[in-house]
C-alpha cells in the first residue's frame, strides 16, 4: 500500500489480470482521489470517491473508501498494457479549505502484453 512515508510500491502483472492497489492515509478525509500518471506525462484524475459512497465504479475501475480504517483501494479489472502507469491516491484533510492535496508516493503498475 502507499502513503507519504512509504516507499514507492511496484506491481507487475500480465494483461487480462485484475489488480488492486491500496492506500492508507493519516489525516481524516471524506474525499479520496485516484490519479494515474503515464510515463512522461502529468497526472490525470481517474476517480473521486466520497465517504458516503464507500464504493464507486467507472468503466473497468472500482474505488472503495473506508473512513474507519482510513484506507482506500483502486481495482482495475481486465488490465491492458496501456494501464501501465504510476497510480496515486490523494486526499484533502477534512475541514480544511486550503485546496492542498496530499499525494501518496504511488504504485508503479506494469502490465505485460
Amino acid at each position: 500500500s502507499q502513503w507519504g512515508e512509504e516507499n514507492l510500491q511496484a506491481l507487475s502483472i500480465q494483461e487480462g489480470e485484475d489488480v488492486t492497489m491500496n492506500c492508507s492515509y493519516k489525516t481524516y478525509t471524506t474525499v479520496v482521489q485516484w490519479y494515474r500518471q503515464k510515463s512522461g506525462k502529468g497526472p490525470a484524475q481517474l476517480i473521486l470517491i466520497r465517504s458516503n459512497e464507500r464504493e464507486k465504479r467507472s468503466g473497468r475501475l472500482r474505488a472503495t473508501l473506508d473512513t474507519s480504517s482510513q484506507s482506500s483501494s483502486l481495482s482495475i479489472t481486465g488490465t491492458l498494457a496501456t494501464d501501465t502507469a504510476v497510480y496515486f491516491c490523494a486526499t484533502i484533510p477534512h475541514n480544511t479549505n486550503t485546496g492542498k492535496l496530499t499525494f501518496g508516493d504511488g504504485t508503479v503498475l506494469t502490465v505485460k502484453p
Partner: protein, 111 residues
Amino acid sequence: DMKVTQMPRYLIKRMGENVLLECGQDMSHETMYWYRQDPGLGLQLIYISYDVDSNSEGDIPKGYRVSRKKREHFSLILDSAKTNQTSVYFCASSLRSYEQYFGPGTRLTVL
C-alpha cells in the same frame, strides 16, 4: 478543450543561474499549483495560488518564489538555481479543491 500548458518542457541551467518556468491554463480556474516530482518521492507541493497576487507556501517553498499577475498564468522562479533543484516540475489548476488538472511537466537539470 481543458488544458494546462508548461514552458519550456526541457531546460538545462548552470548552478547560480536564474530559472523561470511558465504555466498557463484556459479554464479560468482560480487555484493553481506548482509541484516538483523526484524519483520515488511522489509529488511535493511548492506553492499554491488562490487567485491573482494571492499565493501561499506549500510544503517545500524554500529556494522558490512565484508570480501570478493574471488568472491564467502562474510562474515559478528559482533565483540562483542549485543542483538539488534538478527535478521535474508540474503545474496544475483546479476550480475547487477537488480535481486538479496537470500540465505535461518541465524537466529541469541544474549542472
